[in-house]
Structure formats: structure tokens, C-alpha cells
């Protein structure tokens, strides 16, 4: 079942890749060429969240104290380490890769089997790497912004990355199919339960929640590809967002193309 699911995800990624290279070309000025379809999928996702995921997460949050939710979160972070390690290696980050190994050993031995993130406490940082970032570091542009049913926001590149991450996660091969499905559900519910108030407030405070999320997602991914250099430091090309000059000195540019408009 998980294997079929994986195949499906890979197929979607390939299709999306074809679509993005062939049809709607995303550019830094227009990162969202499929906005119409994306918005429709987004309202479907919002509905699914309001009527299914959020209520379940509220129940989870009611039953389990924050402390327990954090233990789950720490454990799931640990289960993601094979992917982080692989991508640290693919990006040639030897030192980070070594720290990943130290982190896993530390948390397994001294973190109650991974439920307590002792490594962070001891100063070993939790690296955040995935194949989408690896592709970005190899120079693959972000591509078109895509909204995937039930999975949420992504881009052509990130979707391909997600497919590879899923395929390179060892648990699906090692554990019986049913258990990984259950674990995934628990992970999503636990994750969502830690963000109840946040999501509520974002929905309330934003003027266009779809755009709010798109902007946040694209900027955040961009920063991760650039490895935490502040986003304003990033080179002007292909930011998926505006360049530093556009953002902070637009008036200077305005003088130049006033006549053009």
C-alpha cells in the first residue's frame, strides 16, 4: 500500500515536472502560474482541515499535555534523520553529516530512545535538509508554486524532492505497511495539534490567507536552500520573492520605470 502510494507520488512529481517545464513557466515575477487551480485545491484543503484534521488535533491536544506532544515531535524529528544525513552528504556537508550521526546516537542512548532531544540541549544542532534543498543547491530553480490535495503547498522542485525523500526514508521498507501509515497519521495529528492557535490567528489576521501562505512558504524554502543566510542576502535571481532592491529600495527603481507603466 505504501509502495503504491509512493509510486503515485513519484508519478505526480514527474507530471508536475513536465507541466512546469513545458507549460506554465514559473518566473521570480510570477511564481504561481496555476493560481486558479491552486486556489481551488487550497479551499478543498482548508475544508479538510476544518472538518477533519483540526477537530482530531483539538481532541489530541485536549487529551495530551504539551510536554507529551513535544516528546512525540522529538521522536519524529529523529525518525527523519536518515533523510537529513543523506542530503547533508549529497551537498558535501561532511561536518554536518557527522553531527547528524552524533545526534542520532546521543538521542537514542541518552534521550529515552529518541523521545527526548538531548542532543539539542547539548548543543548539537538539528539540521534541516531534504532533497528539495539539495536540488536547489545544485542550481535547480524552485519552479511553479503548487498546491497539492491534502499535502499542502509545494513547488515543482520541492515536490520532486518530497518524492525522493519519501523513497529514501528507510522505515517504509523495514516496517510492515500498516504501521507506517498509522505512524504518519499520528505525526500529522501531533504536528497539527501544536499549531492550533497559530493557524487560527494566521487565518484571522491575514488579508488573503492563500497569498499569506504562499509568500511565507516560498521565502522560507528559499532561505533554506541558501542555508540560513538571511533571505535579504540572497542573490537577486530566482528568489521566488522580490529582490532586496525591489523590497527595500523600490522607490529608486520606480523613478526609472515610471514612464514605462
Amino acid at each position: 500500500m505504501t509502495h503504491r502510494l509512493r509510486a503515485l507520488v513519484v508519478a505526480i512529481a514527474l507530471l508536475a515536472g513536465l507541466a512546469a517545464t513545458g507549460l506554465g513557466c514559473a518566473t521570480p515575477q510570477q511564481p504561481d502560474p496555476y493560481e486558479g487551480i491552486n486556489r481551488r485545491i487550497f479551499s478543498f484543503n482548508e475544508g479538510a482541515d476544518r472538518w477533519l484534521v483540526e477537530p482530531v488535533a483539538i481532541g489530541w491536544n485536549f487529551v495530551l499535555p504539551r510536554f507529551v506532544q513535544e516528546r512525540f515531535a522529538d521522536f519524529f524529528d529523529l525518525t527523519g534523520m536518515p533523510v537529513v544525513l543523506l542530503n547533508d552528504l549529497l551537498q558535501g556537508k561532511g561536518e554536518d553529516a557527522a553531527m547528524d550521526v552524533v545526534r542520532v546516537i546521543t538521542n537514542l542512548l541518552f534521550g529515552f530512545g529518541g523521545f527526548y532531544d538531548t542532543a539539542s540541549w547539548a548543543g548539537v544542532p538539528l539540521n534541516d535538509e531534504d532533497f528539495g534543498q539539495t536540488l536547489g543547491s545544485w542550481g535547480v530553480p524552485a519552479g511553479a508554486y503548487l498546491m497539492i490535495p491534502l499535502l499542502g503547498p509545494t513547488t515543482t522542485r520541492e515536490l520532486a524532492g518530497f518524492a525522493v525523500d519519501t523513497a529514501s526514508t528507510p522505515w517504509g521498507y523495514l516496517l510492515p505497511g500498516g504501521s507506517t501509515v498509522i505512524v504518519t497519521i499520528v505525526r500529522i495529528v501531533n504536528f497539527r495539534s501544536m499549531l492550533l492557535e497559530e493557524v487560527r490567528q494566521n487565518r484571522r489576521d491575514s488579508f488573503d490567507y492563500y497569498v499569506f501562505l504562499r509568500s511565507a512558504f516560498l521565502q522560507n524554502r528559499q532561505m533554506k536552500v541558501e542555508d540560513r543566510k538571511s533571505s535579504v542576502e540572497v542573490a537577486d535571481e530566482d528568489r521566488g520573492a522580490e529582490s532586496e532592491d525591489d523590497l527595500y529600495y523600490f522607490e529608486d527603481k520606480l523613478e526609472l520605470d515610471l514612464d514605462g507603466e
Binding site: 499535502l151 499549531l195 512558504f217 524554502r221 533554506k224 532586496e244 523590497l247 527595500y248
Partner: protein, 211 residues
């Protein structure tokens, strides 16, 4: 993907707000980076002091934090950057009105959330002078629910004071985020419509109390 998405949401949260606060101070021309950093340090210290007043009513803390934001942020510049090209379509009165309403929106949405992020300290990661004289001060939140989140403050000098003109949380710029939201709204509803929507949001916040 779920893992980063968590970060995105977490940053979005803070973004929809303003996050720990910097701002102006008696900054002299000596060393821009140093002056800007001192301003951020003072503001963060002040913010953490307010948050530590557990015996105050929530409303009191919130209004103190709003006042702090008013002093430390250059809302006029922020408004101009957020509106970008659309700024030209605003009349003089509309500009004043927009700044007033946007200021209210930003400081409230921050003030009302901030109580949840109270068990935190802030680590200073360094500062950087940008191409044209702005200074970015880089910080990281340690502890509490927002543990490990990177927050950069961009400051610009104005009449000898360093004021915050953008907050960048986990790579997500507040200015860029609002700009893209307002861009679509502007094209649909124009300056008057945008101001009206801001007013509506501020009003509904009034009636719904501090929450």
C-alpha cells in the same frame, strides 16, 4: 515536507504578528552596526521585562507592548515598502489613514499573541551593514514555544535614530509578505477598499476583546 512546513507555519505565526521588538534609541553616527544592535538589544530587553509582569492583566501587557512597537518601528516606511508601487495611487489623506490603521493592525496582532511566547531569551547572532546603509541585526529565540526560530531585524536610520523597517522570521519578510497580500487586494479594491478592509479587521478585533 511536513517538517519544514512546521517551520513555515511557525514563522508565519510570528510573522502575522511582529515578533520580539527592536527600535530607536539614542543612536549616534559612530558605528551603524553597533548602534542598530544596541537598539535591538534595548527593545528586546524591554519586551522581555513586560512579558515577565505576570501579575499585570493581559490588556495591560498588550498595551505596553503596543506602545513599545510604536516607539521602535518606523511604520511610515514600513507602510511605504508594503504598498510599493501602489503607494502612488493613495492620496495624501489616504496615506496617513493607511499608516494609522496598519500600525494598529500590526501592533495589535503582535500584542495579542505575545503572551504565548513568554519563556524565551534572545541570542544575538551578529549584525550586518547592508549595501545601502541599512543594518540587519540577526537574533535567535531560545526556549519557549518558538525555540530555535531565527529572527532578523532590518533597521534604517532616520533623523539620527535607528528604527525597524522589517522583521524577517525564518527567512520570511514581513514587508514582502504583506506586500504580496496587499498587491492582490489593491488590484481588486483600490486604496479606499484596502483601507476599509484594514479598518474592518481592526474593528472586529476591538469587539472580540484581547483574544
Amino acid at each position: 515536507m511536513r517538517v519544514h512546513f512546521g517551520r513555515v507555519l511557525a514563522s508565519a505565526v510570528l510573522l502575522g504578528t511582529l515578533a520580539a521588538f527592536p527600535g530607536a534609541g539614542p543612536a549616534r553616527a559612530e558605528d551603524p552596526a553597533g548602534s542598530a544592535r544596541r537598539v535591538v538589544e534595548e527593545t528586546v530587553t524591554e519586551l522581555l521585562e513586560i512579558l515577565a509582569q505576570k501579575d499585570w492583566a493581559v490588556e495591560k501587557r498588550v498595551s505596553e507592548i503596543e506602545a513599545l512597537a510604536y516607539r521602535r518601528f518606523d511604520f511610515e516606511t514600513i507602510s511605504r515598502l508594503v504598498l510599493a508601487r501602489a503607494y502612488r495611487k493613495f492620496s495624501e489623506e489616504q496615506r496617513v489613514e493607511f499608516v494609522e490603521q496598519f500600525k494598529l493592525h500590526l501592533s495589535r496582532s503582535y500584542g495579542n499573541r505575545v503572551d504565548r511566547y513568554d519563556q524565551q531569551t534572545v541570542r544575538f547572532l551578529g549584525e550586518r551593514v547592508e549595501k545601502r546603509g541599512d543594518v540587519t541585526v540577526r537574533t535567535r529565540i531560545v526556549g519557549g514555544q518558538a525555540d530555535g526560530i531565527d529572527m532578523d531585524y532590518r533597521l534604517r536610520e532616520r533623523d539620527g535614530d535607528w528604527l525597524v523597517i522589517d522583521v524577517v522570521i525564518e527567512g520570511v519578510s514581513l514587508v514582502a509578505n504583506y506586500r504580496s497580500q496587499f498587491k492582490e487586494l489593491m488590484s481588486q479594491r483600490g486604496p479606499a477598499g484596502l483601507i476599509e478592509q484594514l479598518r474592518e479587521k481592526n474593528r472586529s478585533r476591538d469587539s472580540s476583546g484581547a483574544g
